[in-house]
């Protein structure tokens, strides 16, 4: 296997994690990863060096953006009952953070995950999103404030209802 392919392969676990948090649905997340890999492998000869990791995150982020743009034009399909195995009791904490993520706008969710989950630098995230570092920082600050408010508001209210 070429060095290029090895570097791409080494990134698959992290890409899957990022995609899962970004898209929430496991099937869609792996679709995104697959499309990302196909696109990357097809461009093997066009890749003249640089950071493969950032490049892969960039492809995936853009694919997800396109996907959501086209979804916005379709009727939304939602499960009638929450019977997602992920959402069952044992992972109550995780379910909170997943739901909090779902309430974020796309760019903010992406920044939050790239920085906090994937451990990328502000500079790298700025390149991935194609925006200045200042924009990354304000998106991150807003995302954190929003998630915090969501989690703070959610926990006591659950208790009250019970």
């Amino acid at each position: 296997m070429t060095a290029f392919r090895e570097s791409v392969e080494a990134m698959i676990p992290a890409l899957r994690r990022y995609a899962r948090a970004l898209a929430r649905d496991a099937e869609i997340a792996d679709d995104l990863v697959q499309d990302t890999l196909v696109r990357a492998l097809r461009s093997e000869r066009l890749f003249i060096g640089g950071d493969i990791k950032s490049w892969l995150y960039t492809i995936l982020t853009n694919l997800n953006k396109n996907r959501r743009r086209s979804l916005a034009r379709r009727p939304q399909h939602l499960p009638l009952l929450e019977n997602n195995p992920d959402a069952s009791g044992t992972e109550a904490e995780g379910r909170d953070i997943a739901r909090a993520l779902a309430t974020l706008v796309e760019e903010q969710r992406s920044v939050l995950l790239l920085v906090m989950l994937e451990g990328l630098s502000y500079r790298e995230v700025a390149d991935i999103q194609g925006v200045p570092i200042g924009t990354v920082m304000s998106r991150l600050a807003r995302a954190r404030a929003h998630v915090k408010a969501y989690l703070d508001g959610e926990r006591p209210s659950l208790r009250r209802v019970k």
């Binding site: 296997m1 392919r5 899957r16 869609i28 697959q34 979804l71």
Partner: protein, 256 residues
């Protein structure tokens, strides 16, 4: 411990948590946090948030990688058919093809490309079994059909000539597409095999060709100048490619 001369900003608090703060400023921020419990609590909440995220999602990175994402497999998919002005890459759907997501149910929403092809395949399945009313406008009114669909869709809809592969135009109809109208043309051979050509506004300008396969049928998809084409037919891939090639050639010639 000395009180910092310059007040710590919100940005600096984030940078501190994310390890982006210049080393010389770290100590001052720590002193600030010791003196400002509200800020310290916020910083603490962000650290908890990061821990929550890792607790929830790190397990995904530890899962075995599904077969359809294996590099060897993705590399081995056919890459021939570099064709015409576009480098058309044929990518077989491994695993989660169109049939896969249909079975998956309405709860999950497939990627834009799959939506598009799925719509076309659905129309293909619905109308090719129709004996008496497969189309709205019959192929005998070809000129009228083309004018009507072009007017309604907003791009040049031309019913390609597929006689050289033994296919005759049955006719066409207008359908709702993923983003506005879609045109749908049906062809038939003497032996009764049916092919359909579906066009709709594509979600991207993207131009690579893809192959999707269901149980009984299959589709080839590509996009050109913002219009997506889906040629659907039986599961014989070579035959489908032969037909798709003709459609592709003629849409190129139109320069639509």
């Amino acid at each position: 411990m000395t009180e910092p001369q310059i007040p710590v900003t919100e940005d600096e608090l984030h940078a501190y948590v994310d390890g982006e703060l210049p080393a010389e400023r770290r100590e001052e921020v720590e002193a600030w946090l010791a003196a400002h419990p509200d800020d310290a609590a916020r910083v603490q909440s962000w650290r908890r948030m990061a821990a929550d995220l890792h607790a929830r999602y790190d397990a995904v990175a530890d899962e075995p990688i599904p077969a359809r994402l294996e590099i060897e497999r993705l590399v081995q998919t056919p890459r021939r058919w570099v064709y015409g002005a576009i480098a058309a890459t044929l990518v077989a759907f491994i695993g989660g093809g169109v049939a896969g997501w249909t079975a998956h149910g309405a709860a999950s929403v497939p990627s834009a490309f799959q939506n598009f092809t799925a719509d076309a395949l659905e129309a293909h399945r619905l109308y090719t079994v129709e004996v008496r009313h497969p189309v709205e406008v019959p192929g005998s009114e070809r000129v009228h059909l083309q004018q009507w669909l072009t007017k309604r869709c907003g791009w040049q809809v031309r019913a390609p000539e597929l006689e050289t592969t033994g296919l005759k135009l049955v006719g066409g109809r207008l359908l709702p597409g993923p983003a506005g109208p879609a045109s749908f043309l049906m062809y038939e051979s003497a032996s009764g095999e049916r092919f359909t050509v579906y066009t709709a506004r594509a979600p991207t300008e993207a131009t690579q060709m893809r192959y999707a396969t269901g149980n009984q049928d299959a589709a080839l998809f590509w996009a050109d100048h913002g219009v997506g084409y889906v040629v659907s037919g039986g599961s014989d891939r070579d035959r489908l490619m032969q037909v798709a090639r003709l459609v592709y050639d003629q849409s190129e010639k139109d320069g639509s």
